[in-house]
């Protein structure tokens, strides 16, 4: 986090207040988060079948990961998913948020409608519905049929199944949209008035004023959506019936982790998977924070 000149004189002048404000979080951190995390790290070094006591095996789980073909497949699927779904979702969210921030009539109606798919979450209903759209005789193929295109069975075909998950993710862009909207509401209006006087166009205003001012929110959404994408579980579970098919084409990382941990009852192995993911996400986040110095502008 960036420092300000004011804080130079004295080191850590708010120790008491800082820890007082932080106290609830710190208590929760130790009680409900850190202990389970440390225990899970321990489990990653054991063989643990959930029913009998864990047996220490050192780094064997970690070594085994790299010769597990299904694991490597889950890594590939997840990387494709993260790299495509995050930018798509954020672009859709930002575009719609900016469009909705322009004093159109019936704004509330639009905002609510765009958010609706995100309200659905990922239930059995979503799974049923998604198949009605992407199956061979589904809505998408009926629509393509108008143009004489014979579509595939999108969910059933291993070449396309992952893209229906990317579509599902992009379709549920409500959360980042909401955060962008809230961020836009915080922007000082006088800058826009100045820009209007200077005769700047809409596109120029967006890139010169809106985007830089909104950069803390862009940064937040980028970091969080990346973390979420790496951990995407429920949609993958719901859409493929929990199996990651067809032929592992939608076997996202945490889905495989879940199948190993709770299905095959290899919780030690699953914990090792979790900690590798932890390291990868940590790396991504560190890179984001490092790059943030160059493009994120804070008002403080």
């Amino acid at each position: 986090m960036s420092g300000t000149p004011v804080r130079k004189r004295k080191r850590h002048k708010h120790n008491l207040a800082g820890y007082a404000f932080l106290a609830p979080w710190l208590i929760g951190l130790f009680a409900f988060t850190l202990i389970p995390m440390v225990y899970s790290l321990y489990l990653s070094l054991t063989k643990f079948n959930l029913l009998t006591a864990p047996q220490w095996i050192g780094f064997e789980n970690y070594v085994r990961l790299f010769s597990d073909e299904r694991y490597l497949q889950s890594v590939r699927v997840t990387l494709i998913y993260v790299v495509t779904s995050v930018p798509l979702k954020l672009a859709a969210a930002l575009l719609v948020a900016v469009a909705l921030n322009r004093g159109l009539k019936a704004l509330g109606f639009y905002r609510a409608t765009f958010y609706l798919p995100s309200l659905l979450g990922a239930s059995v209903a979503v799974s049923v519905m998604w198949r009605q759209i992407f199956s061979r005789e589904g809505l998408l193929n009926q629509f393509l049929g108008i143009f004489g295109v014979q579509g595939s069975d999108w969910i059933g075909d291993p070449r396309y199944a992952i893209w229906t998950l990317v579509a599902l993710s992009a379709w549920q862009f409500g959360t980042p949209m909401l955060i962008f909207l809230a961020g836009l509401k915080q922007l000082p209006q006088d800058l826009y008035e100045a820009a209007a006087i200077d005769g700047a166009g809409k596109v120029t205003t967006f890139f010169r004023i809106t985007l830089p001012l909104l950069s803390p929110m862009v940064f937040f959404n980028l970091v969080l959506e990346t973390i979420n994408a790496f951990q995407t579980f429920t949609p993958a579970y719901v859409v493929s019936g929990g199996l990651g098919g067809p032929i592992d084409s939608t076997l996202l990382y945490t889905l495989y982790l879940y199948l190993k941990g709770f299905g095959s009852m290899q919780m030690g192995y699953a914990s090792a998977m979790a900690w590798v993911l932890f390291a990868v996400i940590g790396l991504f986040t560190a890179v984001y924070f490092w790059s943030a110095r160059k493009w994120v502008n804070y008002a403080d």
Partner: protein
């Protein structure tokens, strides 16, 4: 910015995207009014034969009234929202505005708590709540949020607070205001959009959460709506899809209502805060 221009093009574009967005919802609502033997066999989104039977039967199909599930979901969600907004805003203020030892370290730890998939900590967490004798109560679902469990919202609020110019609290500090007063009378009102966003997201996520609620709740008198929905469909012993779809629509109502009520306030908030 709020010039009344000719926005028909914007409207047309939005409407087009909109149709694609809501078609699946139309299908869902339409299907909930279809007789069960036509839900999967007709592609038409609207019912050819209209029936309320799915709603009537679905409401009590699991042996416990859906009213119970909904009120449990509301209790858990509302308690979680209050706990989450209060605890996260306090922690966020510390991270964004206060200068204390190891701040960067704790900030990194906070981010780190989001990076381990929850499936990995489910079992040790269960063991802790079992030791506390909290199983089959709402406590494991709510108490962690009272202690700022979800770093997502701390980080969100930190980003917001850092968008508020520091001169405002510095001016207040010069007038002799302590941190508590600066927090309550300056920062909190100015971060209203963030608080409302947190309210909406926390409510919806809690309302739709499945796995954690499944693990911690066992008694049907304490079941929440997602658990109730799960009891409709069983691959082995006969399912009630009509009832499940109908109750899915019912379950959407509170979240839609909360969204509609709260989202207006994000917008209204602006005019009154008037930064600078």
């Amino acid at each position: 910015m709020r010039t009344k221009g000719n926005h028909w093009r914007a409207h047309a574009l939005l409407l087009l995207v909109l149709v694609a967005m809501i078609y699946p919802m139309v299908w869902l609502v339409g299907a909930s009014f279809k007789p069960e033997n036509q839900i999967f066999t007709t592609m038409n989104p609207l019912p050819l034969v209209f029936t309320f039977a799915n709603y009537v039967n679905g409401w009590t199909a699991t042996g416990t009234s859906f009213t119970v599930y909904l009120s449990n979901s509301l209790t858990v969600s509302i308690a979680t929202v209050i706990a989450n907004v209060a605890s996260c805003s306090v922690a966020a203020y510390a991270f964004a505005r206060l200068d204390f030892a190891f701040r960067k370290f704790w900030f990194a730890v906070m981010l780190g708590t989001m990076m381990l998939p929850f499936q990995a900590t489910l079992i040790p967490q269960y063991a802790i709540f079992y030791q506390l004798n909290w199983i089959n109560t709402f406590l494991p679902l709510v108490v962690p949020y009272l202690l700022a469990y979800d770093a997502f919202f701390i980080f969100l609020m930190v980003q917001f607070i850092r968008g508020i110019p520091r001169e405002l609290d510095e001016a207040a500090a010069l007038d002799g205001a302590g941190h508590v007063r600066v927090f309550f009378s300056i920062v909190l009102p100015l971060m209203r959009p963030a608080l409302i966003t947190t309210t909406i997201l926390t409510f919806i996520w809690t309302f739709n959460d499945f796995l954690r609620q499944l693990v911690y709740l066992s008694d049907h008198a304490r079941y929440t709506a997602p658990l109730g929905l799960n009891a409709f469909v069983d691959r082995a012993s006969g399912s009630s899809y009509g009832g499940m779809l109908a109750m899915s629509v019912v379950t959407l109502v509170p979240t839609v209502a909360v969204f509609l009520a709260a989202q207006r306030r994000i917008v209204d908030g602006v005019a009154t805060t008037g930064i600078k």
